[in-house]
């Protein structure tokens, strides 16, 4: 039996495009090179060409650089049609509590459930469980020094993909998200003034 006809060797961009098309999760550049057999330069040129071809303003499919890899996804502008076709609604937005837990894991993690609850001031176990089930939070190890070696939690690649980040370094430093005025207001309300009393009022 004769096999399928093979034409001329496809262009590098075609190979990368084909591999990206069948992946539901981001593919690292090294894995792309391994699958396609392309050199680093060929890979860079192929990806540069695909970025232009799959730019948001040029196609219903976009090439995203997320979670330290590359991922072909539908253009959000077309999401309505996709959701109607798949007969499913967009996932329910996360609650404020869920965002706080993810912020803890992103900026303070890896950390335990108890540490998350301590930072937030309320028990966060239910939120953590929900985020693990949604794949946004994962266990990345265990705290061996603590009783019972509780699991350490961190954010997942799915979290990075969902937030459009390539890595944790893409997020702004947490200190830059709070103004000095806000911090000063907290201190003013809680810490009594530590200014030295007037010298004239000091006992002799």
């Amino acid at each position: 039996m004769k096999g399928p006809e093979r034409g001329p060797q496809p262009r590098p961009a075609y190979l990368v495009e084909a591999v990206l098309l069948v992946s539901a999760s981001p593919i690292q550049s090294s894995d792309l090179r391994s699958a396609t057999g392309l050199s680093e330069q060929e890979m860079e040129e192929a990806l540069a060409g695909l970025k232009g071809r799959y730019a948001p303003e040029a196609s219903g499919i976009v090439l995203r650089q997320v979670a330290a890899g590359y991922l072909l996804s539908t253009n959000p502008a077309c999401s309505g049609a996709v959701e109607r076709f798949r007969q499913e609604a967009r996932p329910t937005p996360l609650s404020g509590a869920a965002h706080e837990v993810l912020a803890c894991a992103l900026y303070l993690g890896p950390l335990t459930r108890a540490a998350i609850s301590r930072v937030r001031g309320v028990n966060s176990d239910a939120v953590v469980r929900s985020l693990i089930e949604r794949g946004l939070l994962i266990e990345v190890g265990s705290h061996h020094d603590a009783p019972g070696s509780p699991a350490l939690l961190g954010v997942s690649d799915e979290f990075l993909a969902a937030t459009g980040a390539s890595s944790r370094r893409d997020f702004p430093p947490v200190d830059s998200l709070v103004t000095q005025e806000e911090l000063a207001r907290v201190r003013e309300r809680l810490v009594p003034s530590t200014a030295p009393p007037d010298a004239a009022g000091e006992p002799s």
């Binding site: 992946s23 404020g96 912020a103 930072v119 980040a165």
Partner: protein, 240 residues
């Protein structure tokens, strides 16, 4: 906290909130199963939604109002308990010593940063919503799976950590033994066959449950025969 099961009067009442959109009854279920944080649910908006959807002239209008008032009151109680400091001495994470102003400031500062970071994340999620990746999923390759022990241990911990001990505070102390109930059954059977209903008619739930277990035990040892003509029909205890 427990809540009385709702009637079906509110089955057609749906709510539209930021944190949830759908049937009201499901909202209650999600809250009681702790899949939705009660303090994320704006109760005022919930009540306003009901007032807009209220049907005072409906045949079951009073029943709907009663069901909603009862469930809303339960939600308020649950929310207040969740937000109030824990007073149970056995509760975990109870801090005996009050925080100094400096420690409190540090904690609030840290929380403020996390709060701002959470707001930033909300924007990130919103601006990246609507991306759908390829629906193609790779089938697992037989024989090519490598399981690292560390990852297996992690997976096991993850799986078992989801088990939650069921609350048993609502259960009172068990004050009756299987032997005592077996004695009562033997005495009743001296007068001939007797139905389980009439045997346990004046017993409480606990005694009924233990009586059933005692009847099964006696049937197993051959002291009596259990007869039930049809599924869920009357259960008759007959001396062997």
């Amino acid at each position: 906290m427990t809540a009385e099961p709702l009637g079906r009067a509110l089955s057609d009442f749906t709510v539209e909130l930021d944190v949830y959109s759908g049937p009201y009854e499901w909202l209650l279920v999600l809250i009681l199963k702790e899949e939705l944080e009660i303090f994320e649910v704006p109760l005022r908006e919930l009540v306003e939604s009901y007032l807009l959807a209220r049907q005072p002239d409906a045949a079951n209008g009073l029943e709907r109002d009663t069901d909603f008032a009862g469930s809303a009151a339960a939600l308020i109680l649950l929310k207040s308990r969740t937000l109030s400091p824990e007073i149970d001495a056995d509760a975990e994470n109870l801090e005996d010593e009050p925080l100094s102003p400096q420690e409190l400031t540090e904690r609030l500062t840290e929380y403020l940063k996390i709060r701002r970071a959470a707001e930033h994340l909300r924007e990130c999620f919103a601006s990246n919503a609507g991306h759908y990746p390829s629906a193609h999923t790779l089938p697992p390759r037989q024989g090519a799976l490598v399981v690292e022990p560390d990852r297996l241990a992690l997976a096991a911990r993850q799986a078992f950590s989801r088990h939650i001990e069921p609350p048993v505070r609502h259960l009172g102390p068990i004050t009756v033994t299987l032997q005592q109930l077996a004695g009562i059954i033997r005495k009743a059977l001296a007068g001939g066959p007797i139905s389980y209903e009439s045997l346990t008619g004046d017993m409480d739930r606990m005694n009924r449950a233990v009586a059933f277990a005692a009847a099964l035990s006696l049937a197993q040892e051959g002291s009596l025969t259990l007869i039930q003509a049809e599924p869920l029909g009357p259960l008759i205890l007959e001396p062997s």
